[in-house]
């Protein structure tokens, strides 16, 4: 007789025996919740969104700070074709694919336009834009044998040549070793096959090392094991479309429709690996390694259909399907969020001669992910200096592959003549920044001031930039949380005249928050 106490004990043991779940489920829940909120918001405020999008698009071609409208909150991102050989027609096709992807993501208010050889995406967050334009590496490979999970030890070992097969036949994940009867019968219980000990010390193949035509040793997405896999039989180029479906049992699947060539390739791969494991890999990680047609005694064509059951939640499945759904005719590279100029709250304090003109220049700031080439050409003084290798650490060069915070002052033309007459010496602008979050400051020090001993050395000095216009900039990597603010100082000098402008500015944009 099973008592209530016995049942409770069994439940306790069973609960304790449940393996750990996926990492960071809260992030999945937040993403799920945000997607729903966004759908509701777009449904209710389409008109408002359209206005913001229009403003964001204007910002692309509008003059820099003080001359264009301030657009708070909107992120407009510019993409360029990765290949110079991309045609306008391909770019237009890209735009169509992106619109479809945004629609699938539940962001119907996204605007995609072709502008001067680039694609401009607005009305979405930076992350959504990146997701929609991403082209993940998808490969289907035969599984040869298992290997022990990655450890710090084997992960740090220098790569050695990978074997092309298992060290002993008993480690091979063949239908025979897995105990799958030739007659099928629908059972998916398999014999455990031990991992190949010869692979234990092997480091996993990194995405940079991986080649579709060569074997690879890859981790599974839950990190529980690794597989030695053979050359890929199907790639992302073979995918015609991807969507999310739910199986009869309620399992979330990514459903792929293959191109005619992809269908043939998949059938060849599946036929060769009949009753064996085939690995589906995305960006160097095996998301699923199912057995093929265990319920059948002979192989039958998949008819160009393929379903991946990778332990997905709706959220993760939608992300993957979006990325896999239809290749972009012209792969894109992100130039970075289009500059968004926001007004800074500044107070100017002339500290020397009473005749010093008060520099009531318009001041603004923009936040970028990288320096768009068009802007670099437009403002070589700032961006050229930022892109250059630093002759003197801490002066003008910063790490390019980072979030950028660019400050620019544009002098009032009416004051220009007065200042030029009164102070014919070249204008020198010193820019200092502080009050960012500690994390951000550390990044500044690491990225900009490798040799700099103190925060004050974050100052960037530009000399002789001209009388009419001063441009200063600093790059920071991955600043703190949204809303984090910085205080900056601009010190402008003409000869002996000094004016200090203190700005409570630099607010980290939500889309770029770390």
């Amino acid at each position: 007789m099973t008592s209530t106490e016995d049942l409770e004990n069994r439940i306790g043991r069973a609960l304790a025996a449940v393996p750990a779940g996926r990492p960071d489920p809260l992030a999945d829940i937040k993403a799920r919740w945000n997607r729903r909120r966004r759908r509701q918001r777009f449904g209710a405020t389409g008109l408002v969104l359209a206005v913001v999008v229009a403003g964001g698009t204007l910002a692309l071609t509008a003059p820099p700070p003080g001359r264009g409208p301030a657009v708070a909150g909107a992120v407009t991102t510019t993409f360029a074709p990765l290949s110079a050989a991309a045609t306008p027609a391909q770019l237009a096709q890209d735009a169509g694919v992106l619109r479809a992807r945004f629609d699938a993501m539940g962001v119907p208010g996204a605007a995609v336009s072709v502008s001067g050889g680039t694609l401009v995406v607005s009305g979405v967050t930076g992350r959504e834009a990146t997701l929609a334009t991403a082209t993940p590496v998808f490969l289907a490979r035969p599984v040869l044998c298992g290997a022990a999970p990655s450890t710090p030890a084997n992960g740090s070992t220098a790569p050695v040549g990978l074997p092309t097969g298992c060290s002993d036949p008993r480690y091979a994940l063949t239908a025979g070793n897995l105990g799958i009867a030739a007659g099928g019968g629908g059972s998916i219980e398999v014999h455990p096959v031990p991992p190949d000990p010869a692979l234990t010390e092997q480091p996993s193949t990194t995405p940079a090392q991986e080649q579709p035509s060569a074997p690879a040793l890859l981790d599974t997405s839950d990190g529980s094991q690794r597989y030695l896999v053979g050359p890929a039989g199907v790639t992302g180029a073979d995918i015609a479309s991807a969507s999310v479906k739910t199986s009869e049992a309620g399992q979330v699947l990514v459903d792929l429709r293959l191109t005619p060539a992809g269908s043939t390739a998949w059938d060849q791969l599946a036929r060769a690996g009949f009753h064996q494991l085939i690995a589906f890999e995305v960006d160097g990680v095996i998301v699923s390694a199912p057995l093929t047609e265990v319920g059948q005694s002979t192989f039958s064509s998949f008819q160009g259909e393929l379903q991946i059951s990778g332990g997905f939640t709706t959220s993760t499945a939608e992300s993957l399907a979006t990325e896999l759904d239809g290749a972009l005719p012209a792969p894109l590279v992100e130039l970075g969020p289009t500059p968004i100029w926001l007004p800074a709250s500044c107070t100017a304090t002339p500290t020397l001669a009473p005749t010093t003109p008060t520099p009531t220049w318009p001041t603004g700031y923009q936040i970028l992910d990288a320096v768009p080439s068009a802007l670099a050409a437009q403002y070589p003084t700032v961006y050229g200096g930022l892109a250059a290798a630093p002759a003197t650490p801490g002066e003008t060069a910063v790490e390019i592959n980072s979030h950028f915070l660019i400050f620019e002052t544009v002098r009032d033309p009416a004051l220009e003549a007065e200042a030029t007459a009164a102070y014919p010496a070249p204008l020198t602008v010193t820019f200092e920044v502080s009050s960012f979050s500690q994390r951000c400051l550390l990044d500044v020090q690491a990225g900009v001031l490798a040799a700099g001993p103190a925060l004050d050395d974050a100052g960037i000095t530009l000399s002789g930039v001209g009388q009419g216009e001063a441009q200063v900039g600093v790059g920071v990597t991955d600043c703190g949380p949204a809303g984090d603010r910085a205080t900056t100082w601009f010190t402008q000098r003409w000869g002996s005249a000094v004016a200090v402008t203190t700005c409570e500015s630099a607010q980290v944009m939500p889309g770029l928050a770390g």
Binding site: P25, S247, P290, S309
Partner: protein, 160 residues
């Protein structure tokens, strides 16, 4: 998102997920149902937070979500899957036997019995709390649990 919800999540997510894994016998389905339940809790957090046992609400929603998902799946029958998940890793000890037996036992129960039993023993609610969560009288819960336990005894006697 409130800190209060995050604290609630930290305290109750894992246990709810584990309960769902045992109840459904499928880690992926359990994770999906649990996340959906917590997402719904977040959406109406003010209301849920005011409940006597918000974790009971979440567990009940997760059970309902999984049940609705299974029904929806049955309505939209697709082709039989040609690719099947499989694990080549051996089970450890007898814990998995316990889990599988519980899963099979719960799968064989009517919805209300399963809800009552999961809330009572997995969610560790009192009979009164189960009654409030299920919106029925305590007496109904007692009789439902009685039937559920009788069913459990029958199906689990062979498992040790």
């Amino acid at each position: 998102m409130t800190r209060e919800f995050e604290a609630f999540f930290a305290s109750h997510y894992d246990r709810t997920r584990r309960a769902m894994v045992v109840a459904l016998g499928d880690g992926d389905l359990a994770e999906e149902a649990t996340q959906e339940a917590f997402c719904r809790a977040l959406r109406r957090w003010r209301k849920v937070a005011g409940l006597e046992r918000p974790e009971a609400w979440v567990l009940l929603v997760a059970l309902n979500v999984s049940r609705d998902g299974a029904r929806r799946g049955a309505r939209h029958r697709a082709k039989a899957p040609l690719l099947a998940s499989a694990s080549a890793v051996a089970d450890r000890d007898g814990e998995v036997d316990d889990r599988m037996a519980l899963t099979e036992m719960l799968a064989a129960m009517p919805d209300r019995q399963r809800q009552a039993l999961v809330l009572r023993f997995f969610g560790q609610l009192s009979v009164a709390e189960v009654a409030r969560a299920m919106g029925c009288a305590e007496g109904t819960v007692k009789s439902t649990l009685h039937a559920a336990l009788a069913s459990a005894r029958t199906s689990m006697e062979g498992v040790r």
